[in-house]
Each structure stands twice: as structure tokens, then as C-alpha cells.
């Protein structure tokens, strides 16, 4: 499998996701990538066996909105199970430390990012000792 990238110049992340899914409906790993120049926008990448797109050398910073095992990440589950059942390589605490036993309340919405070459789910503390993904569905913007 090879990672390919296409820059459609999308300012809106949802539009970029639609764009990627239209280009590569069969892909099981798809990411959005922030590109700062010339003006901030999103490029996309996806994994395919063979395609006529530019190859992506380094997925660093890519945010996976589709990835293998995503469907298993529902409800609350320990870090150990989350990593075992999906393409997520590791879970990293922001403002907290996590162990294999830490329970992640996925809120049915998991969007890991490539950091240090690993598909990483950043989590923040939640009440009741659990953690939740840093990226929240439908964040507050105004």
C-alpha cells in the first residue's frame, strides 16, 4: 500500500474530507493535512494499492478521519484495547498521564494524528478519572 496526497485547497475541513472520500472511496486510511502556505488550507492523503496521485513521503501531522479499526472505538475502553483493536499506535495524555489501564471515553469520535511517526490519539482529563479525545466533535468556534 502507498500513501498518496492531493491538495484541493480546501479551507473547510469537512469539505476536504468529502473530497478525499470522493477520490478514494475504497481507502481505509484517509487523513487531512494543514498546509500553511500560501494561505491556510487542507490537503488530504489516503492509502491505496496503486493510484495516479502524488506519493506522500511523510504523514507527520496528518489527522486520520478514517483508519482501520475505527468502528471498534465506541463507548469507553481501556488504552490497551484501543491500541490492540485499531490502527492507533499510542495514546498520549495532554494535562494528564495515561497507562494501559486508563479508560478512554471515546464519545464515538476518534481522530488520531501522526506525531513522531506514530498514529497518536491525544487525550485530555475528564471527570470521573477517565480521559477523552482532545478533538471534540463540533468544537465551539465563536
Amino acid at each position: 500500500m502507498t500513501l498518496y496526497t492531493v491538495d484541493g485547497g480546501h479551507r473547510d475541513r469537512h469539505e476536504a474530507e468529502h473530497f478525499a472520500l470522493d477520490l478514494a472511496p475504497s481507502a481505509v486510511l484517509l487523513c487531512t493535512h494543514v498546509v500553511r502556505e500560501p494561505s491556510p488550507h487542507h490537503a488530504v492523503s489516503f492509502e491505496l494499492a496503486e493510484a495516479d496521485f502524488e506519493e506522500l513521503r511523510d504523514p507527520e501531522g496528518g489527522r486520520a478521519f478514517r483508519f482501520p479499526g475505527q468502528d471498534a472505538l465506541r463507548g469507553a475502553l481501556p488504552v490497551r484495547d484501543l491500541v490492540a483493536s485499531s490502527a492507533v499506535d499510542r495514546v498520549v495524555g495532554v494535562g494528564c498521564t495515561v497507562t494501559d489501564d486508563t479508560v478512554v471515553d471515546t464519545r464515538d469520535y476518534v481522530r488520531p494524528v501522526y506525531a513522531d511517526g506514530l498514529l497518536t490519539l491525544h487525550v485530555t482529563p475528564a471527570s470521573a478519572g477517565t480521559v477523552v479525545p482532545l478533538e471534540v466533535e463540533g468544537g465551539h468556534v465563536c
Partner: protein
């Protein structure tokens, strides 16, 4: 609205800076501050002081004594939305009477910059503001703008203006608002437009079209898009206008647990993660509040401290950002399409149901308390400009009087001030905290458990303008509060050899980061905002001669 006229005196090279009142006092060397005060006392600067306006520091009265007792400490809020915002609903008068009910002395209406706002709303708002001014004698009410600062975050902008204030506001919005002009995306070109906007404001002040203007960055970390160099660029472009940022964001009710009738969402509405416009250098901790405060302020030795370590003023405030207030039964009457064609939502209607809205009323939870020489528009703006400001959540403090003096009989200074000491001398900080004696709007009498005296070394300009940390910041002393209505703390820095600043941070002591006295990152899924209260003061600088 205000009967004074100003004539500005520009620094022309013949006049020494200390005699040139267009140079703010906080930019003078300590010796020159003394010289200016001497001239002022001798009556030699009196006429000029009367016309000093916004380019000077605010100490217009002929006194040499800058202790907290010189000032009226007036509580206010510079971030309030009305039905003239695309995403809010209250009438001006509903917000104003809400603020008055919650004990505020001053308020700034800040509806969002927006095409329909610029076209239709500014003048309508002004009519309502004039009516509310007439109704509430003694209240200071501005019409400002929540400026979509190009390439950056939202910011409060407001003027002190004898006439045509709404027209000036509308012109500014038309020329420089990021929503109106499509200049919101982060880019060097759009950053330059933000700087142009500040320069334009500066020109209006210098030409006498407006008496003064203030700019304060709102919810600075919410989207991680406000880079350290943008803050520094604004400050250095217009140090008498771009004076600070919100230390804590509004929307503090958003985290109210579901069990208490709330949203159980993020405190301050800070639930974002890096987005397309975010500055990539920040740690992810920035995207959440810490004890309800923005990371830039709450992080000890963080971005705010790194700016103060340059020896320049940069001040914090706390506001409601009220759009819809927690527990209110009022709800929006009209859809967005109506707003787009009129610049106004219909007056809200009573739904009969208490809503779990995210905000508090102005003054209900967060307050910005300003030391003003008198109860006037100009004096409050001068107080903010000079950093004579402390903030508190949930009525944690009823009053805060801070005095800093050196042991050689120099004049004492208070918040935002600058004093000096001979190398090797001693500097004393005297803190009088007036504790809450009445229940807050959450229904309990908050108790200040601890006050931290924070010391940061002044190390001068930064080589990298994106610096967001400084190493030499520490809690010099923590004071525990005992019984009584007044707590008095004192600390002396001995054998002072290097310039520094001090600032204060207090807490009800309920919640801390694990094993630490630092504020905790607010967890997802619900925090009762009344259960974790903090108060912060602005700094006082100490120079060494």
C-alpha cells in the same frame, strides 16, 4: 457623551520625554517619572495635563502618591453581546440592567464584526446605548466592537469619543474587520492588515478624532491561532491602544455539569484542537482552560510572563462574553436570515424553560476591577491602559489593594505601576485583600484560601518574538488566609540587584493540579464553575538604579 476636549502634544525632539505628555508614563525611565511628577506638582505641566488625553498615562491629578487608596475601584466587563450580534439575542437594555443588577460600574457592548452588523446594526445599537445611558445614571456604557482581528482572534475595541463615536466604529469595522473583508485566515498579509488597523486607530487618536482607544484580545487561546509574535507586534505598534488580553474567557457556565442543569461541556467553551489557522508552535495544553483561565495567563512562566519579562506592560481582564445566559428562560426569536437582512434579531421571547446556556450575565461571575481616578469614561480607560486592574471569578475577592515601595522612601506604586530601587536595596509588597462577606451569584460566600505572590525577572527584549516561556518566574511566597474580613500580607525582597515584576494569584484552594499549587487543566465532561475560583492581579514592575 463627555464634555472634555483634548489637544495632543506630540514629541517634537525639543521637549524632553518626561515633559512630553504624549509619552506614556509607563514608557519613561523611573527618574523621568519623578521629574514629570515634580513639574506637575509645581503646576508646570498642569495645563498640558488637562489636555493629556489618551497618549499619556492616566495620573492627571496633582499627586505624587500612587497608592491604591487614590483610586475608585470600578468593576466592569468589556465583552458583551446583544441582539445586534449574529449569534446572540439580548436587547442592549437587558444586558445593561443585568450588569447593573450584578454590581457593575462600567460595560462595553461588543457585537461581532459582520457584514450585516457593519451595514445595519452599528447605528441602531447606538440609539439603544444612548437610551440605556440615560436610564442608568452613573453607569459608564460604551459601544465597542468585537473585532475579527485579521489573521487572528476576536478582540474588544472601544473608543472614548466626544461625538461621532458610532460613525468612527462603523468606519473602523468597514476598513479592517476580518469578517467584513475576508481577511480572517492566518497569513503574513492579513497580520499586516491587523497592524494597519491599530495604526489607523493611533492616527485617529493623534489627530484628535477620538480621545482614546483600547484594544484587548479576547479568548486568546481558544483556537490556538493567536501567535506570540502577533501579540508582541500589536503591543509594539500601539502600546497605548493594544494593552492586553482576556486572562480568563467568558462562557464559564458551559462546563456546568449536566446534573446541575448544565451542558457538561468545556469551561470557557475551550473545546478545540489545532485547526487550519492555528499557530503550530503551541503545546496542546493551550487548548483547554486551567482553573477557568486561559493558558497564556494561567501557565506560570508561560506566554504572559514571557511578555512581562520584556519589561513592558501587557494586562489581563476577565469578562462574560455573554451571548445567552445560563438558566435564563429567554430564547432567540428570529432566525439568522432575519439578522442578515436587518442586522438585528427580534427581541428574545420567554420560553418558560430554563436553558443550559453557556454564559453568565455581565458581572455575575467574572469581573474586571479597574482603579480609576474618578467615575468617568476617560478615567476607566486610563486605568485599563495603565494596568491598574485586578480580576476575580465568583466574587472571590471584594477588594484588593496592593502597594509596592522601596526602602528609601520613594513613592509607592500600585497595580500596573513601576517603581525603582537602588541596587542592593529592599522592596516591600503590601497586600490588603478584602474578603467576600456576601454570597456570590452561585449562592455561597467564597473563601480565599491562599494568595501567591509571583515574581518574574525582567530580562529585556526577546530575540525570538514567538517566545512563549520564560524561566525565571516563581511563587516567591504563598500566604494562607485565616479568619476575618481582611487579610494583610507583606513580603520584602532584600538586596535587590536585578529588575523584576510581581503579580498576585489567589484561589479558593478547592482544586489544583496533582501534587502542585498550580491550577488544574479543566477536565471534560463538567466542572461546576463555582467550585474552582481564582483571582489574578496585573503586575507591578521594579527597576534597579
Amino acid at each position: 457623551m463627555h464634555g472634555h476636549h483634548h489637544h495632543h502634544h506630540h514629541h517634537d525632539g525639543d521637549t524632553p520625554e518626561y515633559a512630553d505628555l504624549s509619552v506614556p508614563e509607563r514608557e519613561l525611565r523611573p527618574l523621568d517619572v519623578s521629574r514629570r511628577r515634580f513639574l506637575r506638582n509645581a503646576g508646570l505641566l498642569g495645563a498640558a495635563v488637562a489636555g493629556g488625553g489618551a497618549l499619556t498615562a492616566g495620573t492627571a491629578s496633582a499627586s505624587t502618591w500612587d497608592s491604591p487608596g487614590r483610586y475608585q475601584w470600578l468593576a466592569g466587563d468589556h465583552h458583551i453581546h446583544t441582539q445586534y450580534s449574529n449569534d446572540a439575542m439580548y436587547t442592549v437594555e437587558q444586558q445593561v440592567s443585568g450588569g447593573v443588577r450584578n454590581g457593575l460600574d462600567w460595560m462595553v457592548i461588543t457585537d461581532h464584526g459582520y457584514l450585516a452588523h457593519e451595514k445595519y446594526a452599528v447605528q441602531q445599537t447606538y440609539a439603544d446605548v444612548l437610551a440605556s445611558r440615560r436610564r442608568h445614571r452613573g453607569l459608564l456604557l460604551w459601544q465597542g466592537l468585537e473585532w475579527n482581528t485579521p489573521a487572528a482572534e476576536h478582540a474588544t475595541v472601544f473608543f472614548d469619543c466626544t461625538r461621532d463615536e458610532a460613525q468612527m466604529l462603523q468606519t473602523f469595522e468597514q476598513l479592517f474587520d476580518g469578517n467584513v473583508n475576508g481577511t480572517n485566515p492566518s497569513s503574513p498579509a492579513n497580520e499586516a492588515i491587523a497592524v494597519q488597523g491599530l495604526k489607523w486607530l493611533d492616527q485617529q487618536v493623534r489627530s484628535g478624532k477620538i480621545n482614546s482607544a483600547l484594544f484587548l484580545a479576547n479568548h486568546p487561546s481558544r483556537n490556538g491561532r493567536l501567535s506570540p509574535h502577533e501579540l508582541r507586534n500589536w503591543r509594539d505598534t500601539a502600546p497605548h491602544i493594544a494593552v492586553g488580553m482576556e486572562g480568563s474567557p467568558g462562557a464559564q457556565a458551559d462546563s456546568t455539569p449536566v446534573a446541575l442543569g448544565g451542558n457538561g461541556a468545556a469551561r470557557g467553551g475551550y473545546s478545540n484542537s489545532p485547526g487550519v489557522d492555528s499557530w503550530p508552535g503551541y503545546p496542546l495544553e493551550l487548548y483547554r482552560t486551567h482553573g477557568g483561565f486561559d493558558w497564556m495567563t494561567a501557565k506560570l512562566g508561560g506566554l504572559w510572563d514571557s511578555m512581562l519579562a520584556e519589561g513592558k506592560g501587557w494586562w489581563i481582564t476577565s469578562n462574560s462574553d455573554s451571548h445567552r445566559n445560563f438558566g435564563d428562560t429567554l430564547t432567540n426569536a428570529s432566525p439568522d436570515s432575519d439578522y442578515n437582512s436587518t442586522g438585528k434579531h427580534l427581541d428574545p421571547v420567554d420560553s418558560g424553560v430554563r436553558h443550559s446556556w453557556a454564559d453568565f450575565w455581565p458581572g455575575q461571575y467574572s469581573r474586571t476591577v479597574v482603579g480609576a481616578t474618578d467615575r468617568s469614561y476617560r478615567a476607566v480607560m486610563d486605568g485599563i491602559r495603565n494596568g491598574r486592574v485586578w480580576v476575580a471569578m465568583g466574587g472571590l475577592l471584594a477588594g484588593l489593594e496592593v502597594t509596592v515601595f522601596s526602602d528609601e522612601g520613594g513613592w509607592p506604586v500600585t497595580l500596573g505601576g513601576r517603581t525603582s530601587v537602588r541596587c542592593g536595596g529592599n522592596v516591600t509588597v503590601l497586600i490588603v485583600a478584602r474578603l467576600a462577606t456576601r454570597p456570590n451569584a452561585g449562592g455561597s460566600i467564597p473563601r480565599l484560601a491562599r494568595m501567591d505572590l509571583i515574581q518574574g525577572m525582567v530580562t529585556g527584549p526577546v530575540a525570538d518574538r514567538d517566545t512563549f516561556a520564560t524561566p525565571s518566574v516563581k511563587v516567591a511566597q504563598s500566604f494562607d488566609t485565616r479568619r476575618g474580613n481582611v487579610a494583610v500580607f507583606q513580603h520584602t525582597f532584600r538586596n535587590v540587584r536585578d529588575p523584576f515584576y510581581v503579580r498576585l494569584r489567589g484561589t479558593d484552594g478547592n482544586v489544583h493540579a496533582d501534587g502542585s499549587i498550580e491550577p488544574r487543566m479543566d477536565p471534560a465532561g463538567g466542572v461546576d464553575p463555582w467550585s474552582d475560583l481564582w483571582t489574578y492581579s496585573n503586575p507591578i514592575f521594579v527597576d534597579v538604579r
